[in-house]
């Protein structure tokens, strides 16, 4: 498979382009886009592509970029967009709508701090804001993963058992602007992996109305269906990994990426590129004879409670590293996963790299040394890593 040296932003856009072309025999591809640092290069790349039966609309705002994706997807087209940070905050009302219509729109987010005060560096607070909206959420840690994840996200989102929008996240700048080698498959391969999409609720000839009023009872049932569908995503993703491997000859990353975790006494839990640093730290500590392992949460929605419970079982200590702060609470990831640990396990939350701080191995080593000394779970800590 040919290898290209591209940024993760371009990897996401290239995957979306291939996916878009793959729908040319069906209702095509249509996307609304709007720039924001550090997602801009993704939309720029998309705007430069020739997509057969495809159109990229240069919108006037993120709210309307998603509006255009909604109209396109509700008309049966494959649809993709990208934004982050305040762009995502501005878009969010239509993200709620996209989920409510159960449209399989895929969105690439180059995670960035929310402001003002303005800050363009990586922080997961933007996509985590979307936590409860009915979007699948996947976090990547290198450029190949970003590329593969976007392709898989289309297949996952469009699976009739799932049928809902998907967010594919990468750390702003750390990934979005880093050039790395990415294996890029041919269009024929992508065509085979991603057959033409069929969105059954799309506006067609029949006179149904999408998104109209409903009663509390109907809302409960719709939420229930949406929730159940999201819970099947893990199983569907496993099938997608198989078919990905069959077509492309390599396996996309697992929903939870464990590293030397099985026999570990202490676990580091994180998302995005923090997980890659954590794996290097694990190697260092292992050399010193410490039984440390890492879990990188790639699939944040749906939450993989069963698997996390299994991985956490019998651990002495768990350090949950959050690149986010839920003000007045602690780390969002910590809040989600701490309940899956056994009561005897010490679960400590460190919010590191918040606002884009550069988290290096020495920072993690310090935190883990501190954790080794503790005998109980403490309050969540916001850690400066300047």
């Amino acid at each position: 498979m040919p290898v290209e040296l591209i940024s993760a932003n371009h990897a996401a856009a290239l995957a979306a382009t291939l996916a878009g072309r793959a729908n040319r025999t069906a209702r095509g591809f249509c996307s609304g886009v709007y720039p924001i640092t550090p997602s801009t290069e993704c939309m720029e790349y998309l705007c430069g592509q020739e997509i057969e039966k495809g159109k990229v609309v240069r919108a006037d705002s993120e709210h309307n970029a998603m509006g255009i994706c909604i109209g396109a997807s509700a008309s049966g087209a494959r649809s993709f967009t990208t934004t982050c940070s305040n762009g995502l905050a501005y878009m969010i009302e239509n993200c709620v709508a996209a989920a409510g219509y159960r449209l399989p729109i895929v969105m690439s987010v180059a995670n960035r701090t929310l402001g003002p005060p303005w800050n363009i560096w990586a922080d997961h607070g933007d996509s985590l804001m979307m936590r409860d909206l009915g979007w699948l959420q996947l976090y990547s840690a290198d450029n190949q993963e970003v590329f593969d994840t976007v392709l898989c996200a289309f297949k996952l989102a469009e699976d009739p058992r799932v049928m809902m929008p998907a967010l594919t996240c990468m750390d702003g700048f750390i990934l979005s602007h880093t050039m790395a080698q990415v294996e890029v498959p041919s269009q024929e391969q992508v065509d085979r992996f991603l057959p033409p999409t069929d969105i059954p609720q799309r506006l067609d000839k029949s006179a149904h109305t999408l998104g109209q009023m409903e009663t509390p009872h109907q809302s409960v049932v719709h939420r229930m269906q949406h929730h159940q569908a999201m819970l099947t995503a893990q199983q569907v993703y496993a099938e997608i990994q198989d078919s990905f491997e069959e077509v492309f000859g390599r396996r996309p990353a697992d929903p939870l990426v464990t590293y030397r975790a099985e026999d570990a006494e202490t676990l580091i839990v994180s998302m995005g590129t923090l997980g890659v640093t954590a794996e290097r730290v694990v190697d260092q500590l292992r050399e010193q004879g410490q039984a440390v392992g890492s879990v990188r949460v790639r699939m944040f929605r749906p939450v993989l409670d069963g698997d996390l419970r299994k991985i956490f079982a019998g651990k002495k200590r768990i350090a949950v590293l959050d690149r986010d702060v839920s003000i007045g609470f602690g780390g969002v990831l910590w809040g989600e996963v701490r309940g899956f640990a056994e009561p005897a396990t010490i679960v400590q939350n460190y919010m590191v790299g918040v606002g884009g701080g550069d988290v290096r191995p020495e920072h993690m080593l310090t935190l883990l040394a501190e954790l080794e000394q503790s005998h109980e779970s403490g309050a969540p800590q916001i850690v400066e890593v300047a």
Binding site: G28, N64, G67, I68, A77, E93, L203, S206, A207, L210
Partner: protein, 308 residues
């Protein structure tokens, strides 16, 4: 909707009865101008294939509750500010697939003049292939009748109890300034003109904008049966100019008002929203004249606004 005599029974035909755009049993208030508009739209559209985008507004309630719908065409309910962007996506995919579908936005004045203004402006600037119809009841009807920037001066609303101080935005001026292929105002009291404009706008390509003064007995505190008459008075008095603008430059006045004081006084007197707010025929006259002078200028007809 009643069989409104002012429409000469035109909105109710055999065809409309068999397959109305707005089905019986919808939840619109009696005498709602939007109901009349939809009947006219059905008539104008005839066999054309339509798809509709409706943002939050009264029309989002009109369709009723899931899974039934009072609309007989495929419709998507968008968020309040997004009608023209969602329609952009729908129209783009229709075009990619070589479909003749006409994509219509049916939006209130709030979704047009206020929260959706940026969206509307952007879609117009891109000249998307959309027919955007604003039914203007001059308030936020859905939320119980608060002011919008389409509320006229002197109208009491639930958020301007003593009457709104400011005038209405010049929506057609704004749309014309986008140099879109077609922008027009529609008087539901002039059915031939209404039908002609709807048909023209349905067939034209690019961004088309129609502004419809839409009587709202609930918000205007008027008699349901008086809706069409109120529109006629608004036109006769010069308060609601009926005109069209081609490509943002060619202005054509369609109905010549008589600018009668009597019509304007009647218009105000028949709606309790204007009661006790201090608005009078005399207080409105200068702004009407000013606007008509501007319209004369734009349409190349140098005739004094007031002819008597």
């Amino acid at each position: 909707m009643m069989n409104e005599p002012a429409l000469n029974g035109m909105a109710y035909t055999e065809r409309d009865r068999r397959e109305p755009l707005l089905r019986p049993g919808n939840s619109n208030c009696g005498g709602c101008g939007m109901s009349n508009l939809m009947q006219m739209l059905r008539r104008a559209a005839a066999d054309r294939e339509l798809k509709m985008v409706v943002p939050a507004c009264c029309a989002a309630v009109t369709s009723g509750g899931f899974p039934e719908s009072a609309f007989s065409i495929p419709t998507i309910m968008s968020t309040f500010a997004s009608a023209a962007s969602v329609a952009t996506g729908v129209a783009a995919v229709a075009q990619l697939n070589g479909e003749e579908t006409r994509v219509i936005c049916l939006a209130g004045d709030g979704g047009t003049y206020d929260i959706g203004m940026g969206t509307l402006s952007a879609a117009a600037e891109r000249n998307e292939d959309i027919l955007y119809i604003c039914y203007d009841n001059e308030i936020y009807g859905n939320t119980g009748g608060q002011r919008s920037s389409a509320t006229p001066v002197g109208a009491a609303t639930t958020s301007t109890l003593r009457g709104k101080q400011e005038g209405k935005k010049d929506i057609l001026g704004i749309m014309a300034a986008h140099r879109i292929p077609y922008a027009a105002s529609i008087s539901l009291a002039h059915i031939d003109d209404t039908l002609r404009k709807l048909q023209f706008a349905l067939d034209a390509k690019g961004f088309r904008f129609l502004h419809v003064l839409s009587p709202c007995p609930t918000g205007w505190k008027s008699e349901p049966a008086m809706g069409i008459e109120l529109v006629r008075l608004a036109v006769r008095s010069g308060l609601f100019p009926v005109f069209e603008v081609f490509d943002g430059e060619r202005y054509l006045i369609n109905v010549e008002p008589e600018f009668s004081a009597e019509a304007l006084t009647m218009y105000l007197a028949l709606q309790r929203r204007f009661r006790n707010t201090g608005v009078t025929e005399e207080s409105l006259r200068p702004s009407i004249e000013r606007y008509w002078n501007y319209l004369r200028l734009m349409s190349g007809r140098i005739v004094p606004a007031r002819r008597n």
